[in-house]
């Protein structure tokens, strides 16, 4: 047995739902339909009645005029209930209107729902009445779309000249198509009455929006959003040669975009404003223009009120008034009659909005006050100028700036094909242009470490020599070969002068470096420290040992005998033939303490020379070199010089960055204070950087079991990461809002990716384009190197790449790409502020970056035209990607470029770096595939019939 659906128990159980419904009106428009399913079928009718009574009372209290037809259309099954509720005494005329609206004409509501108008439109509902006439919602029975019908006064229809003028206006107005302009479709005639057929906008106007707010104003951030849309709509109207002439809150309609589309595929703002009634005001409603009730005069510029020339600036004055009212909840000029207003609009200076409302962005306030200048000349030049002066759009707006339109399958396939082609081309070119290809086969770290330990065991007698190792460039030799001796790229076998060498360092206790462990960091001072340097094949080329501090108890034998012993041991270990060498005087002393120093030259004028130093009879220094007088030690010589250069290279940007951080800090604080900064985005970027940097550190570094060494390494890394992470935070908060304001569309896909919408087609497009661009931007410098008879090496900042490089380097390159993309955008912004022309700014940034890039090419001459051209093409194409496709594409491009430079692709399976092919290909192809599929947005690649 079902309980009585209208019994006290059932009613009491429904009460909380009704209360919730009513409470929901406090922050939005709850839908009865959403609440109905909360009760059982048999109770619905009573529940609907309660909700309906409640809703009607609330809507009427807000000055709305709900019509029975609307509800009849919404609840066709419950027409009895709807009629009953509307028939209830005391509910029909309890209305209080909060804002001046025109009183409906006597003939209001003359069309009942279902009436067919002009043989095409079926009336659905009476929406309202304005200065120009009644407005109905109707269905276009041909296109099955909702439209708004505006019935113009009958007097207008009787005058053929006016109808003709209207027709002309409509023909013009139809051409204005913009998402923030309410579209005009047609002019129909019904019973001699002209009817405007317009786009139906579903959520009232700014008047009802203000009325529904408790303090009759919007939040400053909302005003900012609406202001931007109004500017864009107004700009579209002005572009098509119109003046609006009647901009006022009642003419700004609000569209609730969530109603008409599924949330999952939503892009674009949830609510947007649309300008209505532009241009038509003059011909359609001049009858009522003088009546204050029509509301028109309230928003007229002084020149408009004074009957002088009306310009775009007159519309901007109205825009200023509307924004002022939205922001503060009051009109800046209190007058109510035409005379009062004419005087006030021309003389009064309105109160600053910030004195009336808290948290007003000064930019917003300033631009509103500029719009309200009495003299049209002092107002902004155009609606777009107003928009540019507004505070930056919110990250959400930026996200919605570009439509997430999937790429056409043909384009996506073409792009992906281009990526494949580009990568193949690079692999082919890399074998002929990259310096890596010219280096001899390099043994893996394990093989060379084993060999180094063997040598150390022989020389020092200690059985276990745990230590650190690494590869390094012989920088001087590299530069010399690159610029002066092209034949040096193919050295004679066993010349003991490799371009890349391997070092192995063994310490008596775990070393604590300043930065990272190298033969020179920390300096070798402790007794028992030893270091060997091997060529890529494992031949000994240098040996260092720190001698004991205390002299031996008994004097060692003859000096010559001592030398013999040293030579015997070392020549054997170094796989050299003593008989081919003859003793000569030493040319230099080693850096460690030694009591005997001598050298040997290869007989027969061959290139090699051997240097020795010993202390108390044991060898402390040994070096095989090419024998030219200018050759230096690898470990203590040029390496130190290079270390200094390298530090300089890294120090100068750090200093620049630190100084700019001092500027950025107050800026970041200001942005944060004004609510402009994107804290969520900044935190996510920092987290991304910190995550990638730490992961890359954990994967790349040679970890030891010595805790204090590990701790120093970790602390150092944490310090570096915290430093850059902190700077990124400050810079993001300081600079990003300006980027957002200047180029919202360039941050669109980035903001979507940052907020987790990784599968958005736009994100896919930018990633795909970024991969392709990355493959392209690395070409010019390689070609430039090839044309200059040398080989391309991107930078010395990385250790030379080794066969078994950890894949963590990929992650490290990602962290670097973030910094590089950010840097480029900051430069574009700064130069953009300086020169105001985007292409000039782009050219200047290209020049600056090319100048810097040129200096960082160790194997190419710095001042030749070809190098300049290569560098300009490289940086110029990156700048183009940044300008055309935005941040995400630039980031991807920068990452892909770095990967291709540091981990080159090859077609030669025997190339020593060929083992990285898999990782590089996987990374790049994976990115491209991701971009490809995401950019399709779920479209099928092949038509169904396949």
């Amino acid at each position: 047995m079902t309980p009585d659906p209208n019994g006290t128990g059932a009613r009491k159980a429904r009460e909380p739902h009704i209360d919730e419904f009513e409470a929901a009106w406090g922050n939005g428009r709850p839908k009865i339909e959403d609440f109905l399913p909360r009760v059982g079928e048999h109770e619905r009718a009573y529940f609907l009645e309660d909700l309906l009574v409640n809703e009607l009372e609330i809507r009427r209290a807000r000055g709305e005029l709900p019509a029975a037809e609307e509800y009849l259309a919404r609840f066709p099954d419950a027409s009895d209930t709807v009629r009953k509720v509307f028939a209830r005494p005391g509910t029909s005329n309890r209305t209080t209107t909060l804002l001046p609206v025109a009183t409906p004409t006597r003939s209001s509501n003359r069309f009942q729902p279902g009436t067919r108008i002009a043989e095409r439109f079926v009336i659905v509902d009476h929406v309202g009445a304005g200065g120009m006439g009644e407005v109905y919602r109707a269905n276009d029975s041909e296109l099955h779309e909702p439209v708004a019908l505006k019935f113009l006064p009958e007097s207008a229809g009787r005058d053929p000249a006016r109808v003709a003028a209207l027709r002309e206006e409509v023909a013009k107005a139809r051409k204005v198509s913009h998402e923030n302009v309410c579209r005009v479709y047609d002019l129909a005639v019904h019973d001699g009455m002209p009817i405007l057929v317009m786009e139906f906008v579903n959520d009232g106007s700014l008047v009802s929006e203000i009325a529904r707010r408790p303090n009759k104003r919007l939040e400053p951030t909302e005003v900012n959003v609406y202001a931007r849309q109004l500017c864009e709509g107004l700009a579209a109207v002005h572009r098509s040669g119109y003046l609006h002439r009647d901009l006022k809150p009642a003419n700004v309609l609000i569209s609730d975009n969530t109603r008409d589309r599924k949330r999952s595929t939503a892009s674009g703002p949830e609510r947007s404003v649309k300008l209505a009634d532009f241009g038509l005001a003059t011909s359609g409603a001049d009858l009522t223009a003088d009546q204050i009730g029509a509301g028109t005069v309230l928003y007229m510029a002084p020149e408009q009120l004074g009957g002088r020339e009306v310009t775009e600036q007159s519309d901007l004055f109205a825009l200023g008034l509307v924004l002022y009212e939205l922001l503060t909840g009051q009109r800046p000029f209190p007058g109510m009659t035409r005379e009062e207003l004419a005087r006030q609009h021309a003389q009064l200076i309105p109160a600053r909005p910030s004195t009336l409302v808290a948290k007003v962005d000064p930019a917003l306030e300033q631009v509103i006050l500029r719009c309200l200048e009495h003299d049209p000349k002092n107002r902004p030049g155009s609606a777009l100028e107003v928009e540019a002066a507004l505070p930056p759009p919110t990250p959400k707006e930026v996200e919605d700036k570009q439509p997430s339109k999937p790429l056409r399958p043909r384009v996506a396939v073409a792009l992906f094909g281009a990526v494949l082609l580009g990568l193949s081309l690079l692999a082919a070119v890399a074998d002929r242009t990259m310096a890596y290809r010219q280096l001899p086969e390099v043994q893996t770290r394990e093989v060379l470490s084993h060999r180094a330990r063997e040598i150390l065991a022989t020389l020092t007698g200690s059985r276990e020599s745990p230590g650190q190792s690494g590869y390094e460039w012989d920088v001087d030799l590299l530069k010399e070969v690159a610029t002066k001796r092209p034949d040096g790229w193919h050295p004679t076998p066993d010349a003991r002068a490799p371009l890349v060498y391997f070092w192995y360092r063994s310490d008596p206790f775990a070393p604590t470096p300043m930065n990272r462990i190298t033969p020179a960091d920390p300096p070798m001072t402790a007794k028992g420290t030893a270091c060997v340097v091997l060529d890529p094949e494992g031949n000994l080329i240098e040996y260092y040992a720190v001698p004991a501090r205390e002299p031996p108890a008994a004097p060692a034998g003859e000096r010559d005998a001592q030398r013999e012993r040293c030579e015997h041991k070392l020549f054997e270990v170094a796989r050299l033939n003593r008989a081919e060498f003859t003793r000569v005087p030493a040319r230099k002393r080693p850096t460690t303490f030694a009591d005997d120093v001598w050298a040997l030259d290869e007989k027969g004028g061959a290139a090699r020379r051997v240097e020795f130093a010993s202390c108390d009879g044991s060898t402390v220094y040994f070096c095989v070199s090419s024998g030219r007088p200018e050759s230096k030690d690898r470990v203590e010589g040029e390496n130190i010089v290079w270390a200094r250069d390298r530090k300089l290279v890294s120090d100068v940007p750090v200093l620049i960055v630190l100084f700019s951080a001092l500027v950025a800090l107050p800026l970041a604080y200001k942005n944060w204070n004004l609510g402009r900064a994107d804290m969520t985005g900044a935190v996510r970027v920092v987290a991304l950087y910190v995550g990638t940097a730490l992961a890359s550190w954990a994967l790349i570094t040679q970890h030891t079991m010595a805790l204090h060494t590990e701790r120093v390494l970790l602390m150092h890394t944490l310090g570096v990461v915290a430093f850059w992470g902190g700077l990124i935070l400050v810079f993001y908060l300081a600079v990003e809002p300006y980027l957002r304001r200047t180029w919202p569309e360039r941050l669109s896909s980035w903001n979507r990716a940052l907020r987790g919408k990784l599968l958005d087609p736009l994100v896919g497009r930018d990633v795909l384009v970024g991969v392709l661009a990355g493959a392209c931007v690395v070409l010019p410098l390689r070609l430039s190197a090839a044309l200059q008879d040398t080989f391309y090496l991107p930078t010395l900042a990385y250790e030379p790449f080794t066969p078994n490089v950890p894949s963590g380097l990929l992650i490290g390159l990602a962290a670097f790409a973030i910094l590089r993309a950010a840097g480029m955008f900051v430069l574009l912004l700064l130069f953009g502020l300086l020169v105001r022309r985007e292409w000039i700014a782009g050219a200047l940034v290209t020049a600056v970056l090319a100048y810097g890039a040129r200096l960082n090419l160790p194997t190419m001459p710095t001042d030749t035209t070809l190098t300049w051209l290569g560098a300009i093409a490289f940086m110029g194409s990156m700048v183009c990607v940044a300008i055309r496709f935005g941040w995400l594409a630039l980031l991807t491009c920068s990452f892909v470029g770095s990967v291709l430079n540091v981990m080159p692709l090859t077609f030669a399976p025997h190339a020593w770096y060929a083992t990285n092919n898999a990782a590089t290909f996987a990374a790049l192809l994976g990115l491209a595939l991701f971009g490809f599929f995401v950019s399709l947005g779920g479209q099928r690649l092949l038509p169904d019939e396949w």
Binding site: T8, R11, K12, E15, D19, E22, D50, V53, N54, E57
Partner: protein, 202 residues
């Protein structure tokens, strides 16, 4: 007469007065109400010291009535479907039923809530006479407390109390932040819940 009387104990009593002078009727009601509330309050205070928690609802209700009276706020007599009328009607009905029950057979059961301390057939007789006895007041208070308990919803209880204290629907709507229609709907629900408590005759 018995068919009509229990439905409208106060209306019937004040009807002649109201016809002549509504102001005077309100005045009589206010005086009676003042005495009724004061008596009930003092009576409940004694009772609650000894007995149970159920009395607390009634006591706090009567405290708030008392405060209202002190501020010169009385329930309006002309309010349609006044909750007091329902309350008094319930008290009377119960008494009638109890008497009938006792008269029919001495069954010794206590199923029908007994209106304690009332000897006469109609406990409201003394109230109508303008001089409520402490017993009648206690009876009203007890019933009032029980009815408030019955609502077991804080909002409904608040609305019932405010209404019985003499607030208008509009004032109550402002207090709870809802529209007037909601207050009307909830009052209707309260009245219906309470009327459901009328013991059936059969």
């Amino acid at each position: 007469m018995p068919a009509r009387a229990p439905d409208a104990p106060l209306t019937e009593w004040l009807a002649p007065l109201k016809e002549g002078d509504p102001e005077a009727a309100q005045k009589v009601w206010e005086q009676t109400f003042q005495k009724l509330v004061a008596l009930a309050r003092s009576r409940l205070r004694v009772a609650s010291r000894a007995a149970a928690d159920e009395e607390d609802v009634a006591l706090s209700a009567f405290n708030s009535f008392f405060n209202g009276v002190k501020q010169g706020r009385f329930p309006r007599l002309e309010d349609r479907g006044d909750l007091w009328q329902v309350l008094l009607m319930l008290v009377q009905r119960k008494a009638v039923n109890a008497n009938r029950y006792d008269a029919r057979a001495k069954r010794g059961g206590g199923k029908v809530v007994n209106v304690s301390g009332t000897e006469g057939p109609d406990p409201l007789a003394s109230i109508r006479a303008g001089a409520p006895t402490p017993e009648a007041a206690a009876c009203v208070a007890e019933e009032c407390g029980r009815l408030l308990e019955l609502l077991d919803d804080p909002t409904l209880r608040d609305i019932a109390l405010w209404k019985m204290e003499g607030y208008t629907n509009k004032e109550i709507a402002q207090r709870i932040g809802f529209v007037e229609g909601t207050v009307e709907r909830k009052l209707k629900l309260i009245r219906d819940i309470w009327k459901g408590q009328v013991p059936s005759d059969s």
